[in-house]
């Protein structure tokens, strides 16, 4: 290629540098404003469009290495005169401020999209509750003794109009070492480090200040990455128009109720924040005939199953409580007391429970249902 000799043009390069600093400042401002993905898109497009043009310009007036040096060190002499010193200070200042900004930007990025609802909207309390659930497996027999399907699931379905085939609290039969099984009612674990919240592209699912992980079905785009991310299989998708009774269809949508269910969005157990606010216990606890489920506040260190009141920390410690898949680091808010229904007279070798039923199909004829 033909090399073109042109007059030193460090002034022009200084112009570019100033332009670059201005652009960086604009980007930082926009980042703070919260429009990050847009900025990246615009930035990428700008860089890609301008790079060839700049390159073309540069090729016509490509400064030699010597000229680059003159930009930093006056006249290409490696002695630091006053102007060069000022330039160096300037570069150092830009560099320093950028390095100062990076941690702030990282912090901004980490909390972005997880902004909890406006505190003004929440009922005034002395302190923020930290809801928790303790499930005493010693008292769970999968409702074998009363000859009904698991009543926690049934009550949840009826209370939440949960579309078929969703079981927001689902009873799983875990095999015990040796012989027999135990029943493990499994609601959403309401993780304190929720993988589903971490992967959501639009912030439709978020950790509420009081602990529950909620979903805004008006924002959810239905990409289902949260379902891939959840290690507890606790997220459910509205594959079709879900069957729900007419009263659910008429309700005003509320993300704490998840009613009415919306096609193409994800749903799950929400820890009944509306119920506890009004002073009642979640449906599953009310439905449990053996009072195996406790609901409480980690902050106040109290929990109740509707009959007894226990100190959360004492109760967990005294009974060797565990959490599901503790090794994953999700830090669930749901604790289990090991057992296999022995307190309600179940033998571990009596396996199986009756199938769950959803009553909605008879109310909403012609609606779609699907299998898990």
């Amino acid at each position: 290629m033909v090399a073109t000799a042109r007059a030193p043009s460090h002034r022009r390069w200084r112009g570019y540098a100033a332009l670059g600093v201005a652009a960086a400042a604009a980007v930082v401002a926009l980042l703070m404003w919260g429009l990050t993905p847009l900025v990246v898109l615009l930035g990428a497009v700008t860089v890609l469009v301008s790079a060839p043009l700049l390159a073309a310009r540069a090729s016509m007036s490509r400064p030699s290495r010597r000229e680059w040096k003159t930009w930093l060190f006056a006249d290409g002499v490696r002695t630091v005169d006053r102007r060069a010193a000022l330039r160096l200070f300037g570069v150092a200042a830009i560099f320093g401020s950028v390095t100062q900004l990076i941690p702030k930007m990282v912090e901004k990025v980490l909390v972005q999209g997880q902004t909890p609802p406006d505190p003004g909207d929440l009922p005034l309390r002395a302190r923020t509750r930290q809801w928790t659930m303790i499930i005493d497996l010693r008292r769970c027999d999968g409702c074998q003794s009363i000859g009904l399907p698991p009543q926690c699931t049934t009550a949840c379905i009826e209370g939440h109009f949960t579309p078929e085939p969703m079981e927001w609290i689902e009873v799983y039969e875990h095999e015990l070492p040796g012989d027999g099984t135990r029943f493990v009612p499994t609601p959403c674990q309401q993780c304190q480090n929720p993988p589903c919240v971490n992967v959501c592209p639009v912030g439709a699912t978020f950790s509420a200040p009081e602990g529950p992980v909620l979903i805004d079905q008006d924002r959810c785009i239905g990409c289902r990455i949260c379902m891939a991310a959840c290690p507890y299989d606790r997220r459910f998708f509205n594959w079709g128009d879900p069957p729900v009774p007419p009263e659910a269809l008429l309700a005003d949508y509320d993300l704490e109720l998840q009613v009415p269910a919306r096609k193409g969005t994800v749903m799950k157990c929400d820890f009944c924040p509306d119920m506890v606010r009004s002073g009642t216990l979640p449906y599953c606890i009310q439905g449990c005939p053996h009072r195996a489920i406790y609901y409480g506040d980690l902050e106040e260190d109290l929990a109740t199953n509707g009959r007894e009141l226990v100190s959360v920390s004492r109760f967990l410690a005294n009974n060797d409580a565990f959490r599901l898949k503790e090794e994953l680091g999700t830090q669930p808010r749901v604790f289990y007391i090991p057992g296999h229904g022995e307190d309600v007279g179940r033998d571990p070798t009596t396996t199986g429970f009756l199938p769950i039923r959803w009553p909605w199909k008879s109310f909403a004829e012609g609606s779609a249902t699907w299998s898990r």
């Binding site: 993905p37 847009l38 999209g113 239905g222 299998s371």
Partner: protein, 448 residues
């Protein structure tokens, strides 16, 4: 002008000048497939994703497979045009244009499938309005759109002189919209020294820029999987593995496309057996890389066999997915290497056969990576099964037809080979030969 250059120019002008009945036939068939796919998508929009085979436990299927596969295919252009350009491998020049077509078109197809997979495509813009940096999906949107912008630019820049060539030679001989298009897109290219210099440096910048972009794209595609708490996807090698697979399947697609276009538009003189052999060797080398990645992946997990790993190995190696897995491993990775080892098999037919095997295997690989990862039960329940429905198959077929249609139409409108660059390189080589000749000549003797 040498006779070679004349033939080259004629061969490149030919597709834009004449249209055969077969062309309309191909376009018609492809449009019919796309129309059928659109009907299937309409059904899906009306009834929801319930019309697919996906359910809560296996919640991704063919659509995500197609997304991963097509974004992978798009790495053909980057490899041929950017990496080989950086390596100064001049043999690649006649096939660059085709590779860059594939890149742009495959990206568009792949990106479409993300939308197709959404439960609420009407809210897709939420990704921009409410986008969160932490989400791998947002990384993907950013990476794929950046890559699409870059590859369109990179397709366009080297094409400017060829578009000017079309403008100069075809005005008056083709419909007015076409010559108008060439005039606008050629942005007043006159072939002056300044223009050439600007073009060369712009291309040089883009070729460096596009390599990290391409690598990042398939890395973040893999991170959609690797960022979840699933045993089968919990792998640090996933990004590299996906990028290698992307280049691998990209080369295979390019070989198939080259063979088709060469045959249809009679480009035998310019796209020779040598090109197939070189690309075939590259493909075999990538097969080796893939084999190595697979061994690394499966030996480290399979030796320890942590909880949950046994199920994954069983379904992949001996049970439900074993036919897919062994097809991928043997027909997709080992057979192509063996074929390229046998000199007698290094014909166009033999290499295209290997490429078809590779593409099939890579598609199957994307499929079983998605499905086996989701199928492993997380709690004590019976593993779910996934069988795609007619809707999914139709839209998948529509995706392939869309890809083929775009390539067909692109090739009809735009120069199929990089004439400008080929001629330039030919001249350079001639000059070099002249220089060598002059060096070996007797001192004092002048060469004219």
């Amino acid at each position: 002008m040498s006779p070679w250059q004349k033939r080259l120019e004629e061969a490149t002008l030919e597709p834009a000048r004449t249209t055969t009945r077969d062309y309309y036939l191909v376009v018609g068939v492809l449009l019919a497939v796309i129309a059928w796919a659109l009907f299937a998508y309409f059904v899906q929009l009306r009834d929801g994703l319930v019309v697919t085979g996906m359910r809560d436990r296996i919640s991704w299927g063919l659509y995500i497979t197609m997304f991963v596969f097509f974004i992978g295919i798009s790495h053909a252009g980057t490899l041929i045009s950017a990496i080989l350009r950086v390596a100064n491998a001049t043999w690649r020049t006649p096939v660059t244009r085709m590779a860059e077509f594939i890149t742009a078109v495959a990206l568009m197809t792949g990106a479409l499938f993300v939308i197709v997979d959404l439960g609420r495509p009407d809210r897709f813009l939420n990704v921009l309005i409410h986008g969160r940096w932490q989400s791998p999906i947002v990384w993907d949107v950013v990476a794929v759109t950046t890559y699409l912008t870059a590859s369109l630019l990179y397709l366009y820049l080297p094409m400017i002189p060829d578009l000017a060539f079309f403008r100069d030679r075809l005005t008056g001989k083709v419909p007015r919209w076409k010559s108008g298009l060439y005039r606008i897109l050629a942005i007043n290219w006159r072939g002056t020294d300044t223009q050439k210099r600007q073009l060369h440096s712009s291309i040089a910048i883009m070729m460096i820029l596009i390599i990290p972009i391409a690598v990042s794209v398939h890395t973040v595609v893999s991170w959609i999987f690797a960022m979840t708490l699933r045993e089968a996807w919990n792998s640090a090698i996933f990004g590299f593995f996906f990028v290698a697979g992307a280049i691998f399947s990209g080369i295979a697609t390019l070989i198939i496309m080259m063979a088709l276009l060469r045959r249809v538009y009679r480009l035998e003189e310019f796209i020779t057996v040598k090109h197939f052999q070189y690309l075939g060797f590259l493909m075999a080398a990538m097969a080796g890389v893939m084999l190595y990645a697979n061994i690394s992946e499966y030996v480290t997990a399979g030796f320890k066999l942590e909880e949950g790993a046994e199920f994954i190995f069983r379904q992949l190696f001996v049970a439900e997915f074993a036919p897919y897995f062994w097809f991928y491993l043997i027909a997709g990775l080992i057979v192509p290497i063996v074929l390229l080892f046998i000199p007698r098999m290094r014909t166009v037919g033999g290499i295209v056969f290997a490429a078809v095997l590779v593409d099939l295997a890579m598609w199957v690989e994307r499929y079983f990576i998605v499905v086996t990862g989701l199928r492993a039960p997380l709690l004590p329940y019976e593993p779910a099964n996934y069988a795609p429905t007619w809707v999914e198959w139709s839209i998948t077929a529509g995706g392939f037809a869309f890809f083929a249609l775009l390539v067909t139409v692109f090739v009809k409108i735009f120069p199929i080979m990089a004439v400008f660059e080929m001629v330039e390189e030919q001249e350079e080589q001639a000059a070099e030969r002249l220089a060598i000749a002059s060096e070996s000549a007797l001192p004092g003797e002048a060469i004219t």
